[in-house]
């Protein structure tokens, strides 16, 4: 019982209090530990948690394959994808590059010509200056995925160059360099899959806008109107909407607000249509066609809605959520909330 319950709880309370009041303690040793080492430990354990997540996923997929549950064939793809990522991360580096040194005199022009053609750059001149500029050896700015391609290119250079050798980026940095298999996997597998999953949502939002977003009460009306004004105001097409269209929308808005107070349908319709006609006549007389007033342009209205009413709602929500998180963190730090430690 001590090992399973008490000690983890002591860790939570101890680390929680230390991190919280670490912000106030003045002596260097404690502050150094809290701000640097403690955060480093947090990052290291967070990395192990990521490994745990990956292994968990792997376990689930393997069970699905072994037990031949529904759609188990697709789990093979998941395991194969995971294996490919590990292979590109730990076993096959790629990112090979070539360094050349002491080019035979007079051959510099030919060498920089070959390099320029490989990097399909227009003039070999700036490569020439770079080669002259480099002290002992010059690293050709091209990374080859496979050693085979690199060797092919080396043959073209060997006759003109004294020293030439094939190197590859150090382990660890290969995970970010352009020519590595890992980078190829990121650009050609993770990017399209990740990005397209999100792009699907645009379609779902569109069909939901048509079939689900209804003005069922005054709150939903406020929400949809604010959303529409924001969507139109934030894109260039917003400034094309003429002032009289905006005034019609305003009159409809006033009609919607007045609706609960005026029972009679006919009177309400009369007020709204009358208002629109007066608005337009007044507007054309005042010459709004040439210089439309700021108040009747969607982008300006959108700026105001964004900066004040929406801001107020956002601040109220932010304080509300922050209080919830502060209360939950407080319960965790004094050890009241044990469910957080898991099953």
């Amino acid at each position: 019982m001590l090992l399973k319950r008490q000690i983890p709880l002591m860790i939570v309370i101890g680390v929680g209090l230390l991190t919280l009041f670490g912000n106030f303690i003045n002596n260097e040793a404690v502050r150094g530990f809290v701000d640097n080492d403690a955060t480093q430990w947090f990052d290291i354990i967070a990395s192990f948690a990521i490994f745990l997540g990956a292994l968990n996923m792997l376990k689930l997929q393997l069970i699905k394959i072994i037990k031949k549950q529904k759609n188990w064939q697709y789990s093979i793809l998941a395991v194969a994808g995971f294996a490919f990522a590990i292979f590109a991360g730990f076993f096959y580096r790629g990112a090979n590059f070539i360094t050349i040194a002491d080019i035979q005199d007079g051959q510099l022009a030919i060498v920089s010509g070959i390099i320029a053609e490989e990097l399909n750059e227009t003039n070999p001149y700036d490569i020439k200056t770079k080669i002259m500029g480099s002290q002992d050896e010059y690293e050709i700015d091209k990374l080859f995925m496979t050693e085979g391609n690199a060797k092919l290119f080396m043959e073209k250079l060997t006759p003109f160059v004294g020293v030439i050798n094939l190197k590859s980026k150090p382990w660890g940095a290969h995970v970010q360099t352009k020519g590595s298999l890992f980078y190829w996997m990121f650009i050609n597998m993770i990017t399209p899959l990740g990005a397209t999953m999100f792009a699907l949502l645009a379609f779902f939002v569109a069909s939901a806008s048509y079939r689900a977003f209804r003005i069922r009460n005054f709150e939903a009306t406020l929400l949809l109107v604010a959303g529409i004004i924001l969507m139109l105001g934030r894109v260039p097409i917003g400034n094309l909407i003429p002032w009289w269209v905006v005034s019609i929308m305003l009159m409809f808005g006033i009609g919607a607000i007045a609706a609960p107070f005026i029972k009679e349908r006919k009177i309400l319709l009369g007020i709204v249509s009358g208002g629109i006609i007066i608005f337009i006549i007044f507007g054309t007389l005042m010459g709004w066609n040439q210089t439309p007033p700021a108040l009747l342009s969607i982008p300006i209205i959108q700026d105001w809605i964004f900066a004040f009413p929406a801001m107020a709602g956002s601040r109220a929500l932010m304080i509300g959520i922050a209080l919830g998180i502060v209360a939950t963190s407080f319960r965790i730090i004094i050890g009241l909330d044990k469910s957080v430690l898991g099953g």
Binding site: K4, G16, I45, F48, F90, M189, L193, L230, V326, I332
Partner: protein, 283 residues
């Protein structure tokens, strides 16, 4: 000539169209792409956090490069002997070339920090959660993460999301009428918004009316988030269709048109066969 570049482009188009095929119906193409994504992204995140954090910051601190740390004592040579054992295991008993544990220690830090054995052990405890019998050890590691996250968030949210927001509600009465009115709207909106999330009294009478005004401000805020959410999703769709457009050029051997025709044909065949199967099972 098929280069890695063109092969990559075709793969991008294939995977993009497989995911988009979900719009027609949940079909084998979508399931395949989805499961591939689950596998690859899990592996990807694990590799990145190993090479970016665990190897340089943990192993790097336990076994820094020996030259600047070696004081010739037996203890250091024993310590680096362990390092060699780790390397022996990690290179598949000497088969592969050295990768995770380079020759003579990891460059980066200049002193051995034995205190970093603690996160190393806690990290291993975290992995033990997979072993049913020893699963409880993981709680120690989770406790550290939960405790520190609570400490960080208590201070961070209280300071930035409450104290500074109170300070921000101050109104500059010397400025022009327009700013004062707007600042008042902001102030009233925030107060009434907070009253809506109040649970200690019934929302009747004055409190009821104030909370109604509060919900109106909240609804305008949700309207703004609704507008932004639609805007964001459309931008991402534009990004994808722009990629498909770029990859339909001859430079990539017309990847998009060719693959989309192929997928449409396969989908038609599949849904035709799938239709029969359903009829049989239904009959």
């Amino acid at each position: 000539m098929i280069t890695a570049e063109i092969m990559g482009a075709w793969l991008v188009v294939l995977l993009t169209l497989c995911i988009f095929s979900f719009l027609y119906k949940d079909n084998p193409f979508y399931k395949a792409a989805e499961h591939l994504y689950v596998g690859v992204s899990a592996g990807y995140v694990a590799v990145i956090s190993f090479w970016q954090q665990v190897q340089p910051n943990m192993f790097g601190r336990l076994w820094p490069s020996r030259i600047d740390v070696d004081d010739g004592s037996i203890f250091t040579s024993v310590w680096y002997a362990i390092y060699e054992i780790f390397n022996f295991i990690s290179t598949g008993f000497g088969v592969l070339d050295r990768s995770i544990f380079p020759e003579g220690g990891i460059k980066g830090f200049d002193e051995i920090r034995f205190i970093y054995l603690i996160p190393f052990i806690l990290g291993i405890f975290m992995l033990l959660r997979l072993v049913p019998k020893l699963g409880w050890l993981a709680r120690w590691a989770i406790a550290y993460i939960v405790g520190m996250a609570a400490g960080l968030r208590f201070y961070g949210f209280l300071n930035s999301d409450i104290l500074i927001q109170i300070k921000a509600s101050a109104i500059d009465f010397t400025s022009d009428w327009g700013t004062i009115v707007n600042a008042l709207i902001l102030f009233i909106g925030t107060l009434t918004g907070l009253i809506y999330f109040f649970y200690s009294t019934e929302h009747k009478g004055v409190v009821g009316r104030l909370s109604r005004i509060g919900i109106y401000f909240l609804m305008i805020k949700f309207g703004a988030s609704f507008g932004f959410a639609v805007m964001g999703r459309i931008s991402l769709l534009i990004g994808r269709i722009n990629d498909l457009k770029n990859y339909s050029s001859p430079e990539y051997n017309y990847a998009t048109p060719v693959i989309s025709v192929l997928i449409i044909i396969c989908l038609a065949i599949w849904s035709f066969m799938d239709g029969d199967k359903k009829k049989e099972s239904a009959a």
